[in-house]
């Protein structure tokens, strides 16, 4: 009897144990909801304050947070800062959100905010975002959750600059203690944290258990296989291996639209495709301003929209169309009928004594869209007498030749428009931008106007100044806007419920990633 009783007790204990284990484990397995993002490219570096590519920004946005964010009306709203106050044209006070914590569980403090902004401003960091933040004179921690910032001069773009991921808040305490290396690790207060990274292969992110927004993210895991090939991403969407991805041109979404359960959402951005023109090289025909102006007039931006983007984009301007300003639209470049522009361009070339300029056009091979744009540019400039030779070269070579050596005539690329009209046009001042000093002519009047507009609050007076600047930019024809850059988010509507902002100003396509809901 004793033996039987012992066996029964043991069996009952085991059953209870198994039951308890099942109660604990099974629900967590059942709730382990995963979304899969077909990421088009690997990050180019881990340092959020340094990397200047969208492939890196996209991943940082899953893990890091900024003090502020931009909504789809391009208005600044709170992110890590639950509120802020501008106490004078140069003074700001930020209140950090209660409950905001890094994924290691430590609360975000004023010291993290101050340390992060100091790190961006430190020349040793080599952050390109330093200039966009303006001249920070002083920062103080009023208490653990309150920071005051004093600028040396008014800089209304300071708040929008804080909304870009490059101004992310890092765990400075861990960085100083040597337990966190921002050049090889990602540790933030955003919705996800890194569980595993296989270089050039995949990322596995899991929910940040300390994320301040309770109940979010809706997915427990975010798998991100890296699939650079467009056809392979299309195939992965078709067979349901990935839930969502992005494309830079509308061809893929259009082909996939015939499939059941595949939907796409275009996202308008303040970004636009552009052409850089070398105005400084003696070897370039574009050193002559008349040749540059002729080229600007001969460009057929509408043809780029029609042939490369199937009419889904829009002609864009130095002050991005997404801001809804009329700053540039009345200029001949945009308002004059094309036939008249071609005649005017030919006349300019004749005046320049160079009726058939031979020029090279570089398109980095990493982005097929740039090659297609180059082909349309080649055709449209041919109408005015230009002979254009296209070069498709690797990205690293393109970057060195254009931005370091100035060894080119013109090149295609795209420009981030950010969330304030004064931010993107600031690049037309080579003293401020630095990156275009080897090919951009320094026009003192334009630089002065750009410096002035940075200090102006939004309104009619600033809009008038923007129009004046746009005319000067158009006259110089040194860095030209082409068409808007629309991003296409394509997803399986039977696998995931996505929320995508109709408009983005910070290259933050997945701003609402925490609201992406896995479907059963």
């Amino acid at each position: 009897m004793n033996i039987r009783s012992s066996i029964n007790k043991a069996a009952a204990t085991a059953a209870l144990g198994l039951g308890l284990a099942a109660t604990c484990v099974l629900p967590s397995l059942a709730q382990d909801k995963t979304i899969t993002w077909g990421k088009p490219a690997e990050i180019t570096g881990f340092d959020v304050h340094v990397a200047g590519t969208v492939a890196a920004w996209e991943m940082y946005q899953m893990i890091y947070e900024t003090l502020l964010a931009a909504d789809e009306n391009l208005e600044v709203q709170g992110a890590l800062a639950e509120s802020w106050e501008q106490t004078s044209p140069t003074s700001y006070v930020f209140k950090i959100r209660d409950g905001a914590a890094f994924s290691n569980g430590r609360a975000v403090t004023a010291a993290d905010v101050i340390g992060s902004l100091e790190r961006i401003k430190d020349p040793e960091t080599a952050s390109y975002w330093s200039h966009q933040l303006g001249d920070i004179a002083k920062m103080e921690a009023i208490d653990d959750h309150t920071v005051s910032v004093e600028l040396a001069a008014p800089h209304p773009a300071f708040l929008p600059a804080l909304a870009h991921i490059t101004a992310a808040i890092l765990p400075i305490e861990e960085l100083k203690a040597g337990t966190f290396d921002p050049t090889s690790q990602l540790l933030g207060s955003g919705p996800f944290m890194v569980e595993e990274h296989k270089q050039d292969e995949s990322w596995t992110l899991v929910r940040n258990p300390h994320y301040w927004r309770k109940g979010y993210p809706l997915a427990d895991r975010l798998e991100a296989p890296i699939i650079p090939d467009e056809s392979a991403r299309m195939a992965a969407l078709r067979d349901g291996r990935i839930d969502f991805t992005t494309f830079a041109n509308p061809d893929a979404p259009q082909m996939l639209s015939k499939e059941d359960n595949i939907e796409s959402k275009p996202q308008q951005t303040t970004n636009y495709y552009r052409i850089d023109v070398n105005a400084l090289s003696d070897k370039s025909a574009f050193k002559d301003k008349k040749v540059r102006q002729a080229m600007n007039l001969a460009l057929d931006r509408q043809a780029i929209n029609d042939f490369v983007f199937a009419g889904t984009s829009d002609v864009d301007y130095p002050v991005p169309a997404a801001f809804g300003k009329d700053a540039c639209r009345s200029l001949d470049t945009y308002a004059m009928p094309r036939e008249e522009r071609i005649e005017k361009a030919k006349a300019l070339l004749k005046e320049a004594g160079n009726e058939n300029p031979e020029v090279g056009l570089i398109a980095a091979s990493s982005n097929p869209v740039l090659g297609r744009i180059a082909q349309v540019v080649q055709q449209s400039l041919g109408d005015a007498g230009f002979e254009v030779e296209i070069e498709s070269i690797p990205t690293a070579e393109y970057l060195q030749r254009v931005f370091t050596d100035g060894d080119f005539d013109m090149s295609t690329s795209w420009l981030a428009g950010y969330t304030d009209p004064s931010m993107v046009i600031a690049w037309w001042n080579p003293e401020f931008a630095v990156w275009n000093q080897v090919f951009q002519e320094n026009v003192p009047e334009l630089s002065a106007a750009l410096d002035e507009v940075k200090t102006m609050q939004g309104g009619a007076e600033r809009d008038a100044k923007l129009s004046e600047i746009c005319a000067m930019i158009d006259d110089g024809a040194n860095l030209l806007s082409l068409v808007s850059k629309t991003d296409y988010v394509v997803y399986r509507d039977d696998q995931v419920d996505v929320t995508v902002a109709e408009k983005s100003g910070s290259s933050n396509t997945f701003q609402y990633i925490s609201e992406f809901k896995p479907l059963d």
């Binding site: 270089q199 050039d200 078709r238």
Partner: protein
């Protein structure tokens, strides 16, 4: 002793070759336009930022000194760290090696399965009756992997067929899923191999078939099957072994184009991405390891020659 005497000069030549490759890849990477600073910072690479990045990664040192440091580290088994992840590149190569080996094995098995029988059949059939095999050989040798792979990707991504494009799954996790992913790149990679093995086998067999000892065997009344098995295959095998080992070395060194096209996370894709990102440690290690694999396999082929044909080894004595 004879084998050692046969191998020693080859080992010495191999070491010199590897040293030469290390110098070439090191210098070539520093001569091509663009560096990691360009990739990391994009257009925002100012001279100051470039100098900071160079100092951070030791690229501000004289090239000779950089090479010397790298060589010393290599001798200690340290292949360097990736500039992107700051993690040891050797770990990544070891993690990816099974993927490339599997891809190479699939391609080799397909190449041998089709190339050898077709080559023998074509070679024994003679010039007038080997047309089909000649045609297959010509097509296989002239269609580039990138063209064939692109066509297959298009077809298999538009129509939902059983084989999959991309989405690598390890064999240990899901054998069927793994085969569904690996077969297309394996087949793409094997087409050139089929043509290579077929043409080499065919030429070798045809050459042997004209030898006097074959005529003598026929005159002795030996059965055709025995003539092929005992006289033709053994004597025709040396050129076939040469091309198969070279081909296998090429596959193991990283079938870059196919891995990139099909997003297969092998050593070829890793090295290629490293090259695009100017991640020096990855490319240096990738090229050097490829050279070591290639040279080692060629040495193994030399040993095989000696085993197949004793006259080859005997040559070392003279």
């Amino acid at each position: 002793m004879r084998l050692i005497a046969y191998l020693l000069p080859r080992i010495a030549a191999a070491l010199i070759t590897i040293l030469g490759v290390s110098v070439l890849v090191f210098l070539a990477l520093r001569l091509i336009p663009g560096g990691y600073a360009d990739i990391l910072l994009g257009p925002f690479v100012t001279p100051e930022a470039r100098a900071t990045i160079a100092e951070r990664y030791g690229l501000d040192q004289p090239v000779v000194l950089q090479y010397f440091h790298w060589l010393v580290s290599l001798l200690q088994g340290d292949f360097g760290v990736s500039m992107v992840t700051r993690k040891p590149v050797l770990d990544e190569f070891l993690r990816r090696a099974p993927v490339t080996i599997e891809l190479a094995m699939i391609a080799l098995v397909v190449a041998l399965s089709f190339g050898l029988p077709l080559g023998i059949a074509s070679g024994t059939a003679g010039r007038s009756r080997g047309g089909v095999a000649r045609f297959i050989g010509a097509i296989g040798a002239s269609v580039p992997d990138v063209v064939l792979g692109s066509v297959l990707i298009f077809v298999f991504s538009v129509w939902s067929l059983w084989l999959r494009v991309g989405g690598y799954v390890p064999f240990s996790e899901d054998p069927v899923g793994n085969l569904r992913v690996m077969l297309l790149p394996g087949l793409t990679l094997s087409v050139f191999g089929v043509a290579l093995v077929l043409r080499t086998t065919r030429d070798a067999v045809m050459r042997v078939m004209t030898e006097g000892y074959i005529t003598a065997a026929v005159a002795r009344g030996e059965r055709p099957r025995d003539i092929i098995r005992l006289h033709v295959l053994r004597n025709a095998s040396i050129p076939v072994v040469t091309v198969v080992t070279t081909y296998f070395g090429f596959l193991l060194s990283g079938a870059v184009v196919v891995e990139v096209l099909f997003s297969i996370p092998g050593i070829g894709l890793y090295t290629f991405s490293g090259l695009l990102n100017r991640d020096y440690a990855i490319v240096q290690a990738g090229v050097l390891l490829a050279a070591v694999v290639f040279i080692t396999i060629n040495m193994l082929a030399d040993v095989l020659y000696a085993a197949i044909d004793p006259r080859v080894g005997a040559g070392a004595k003279r």
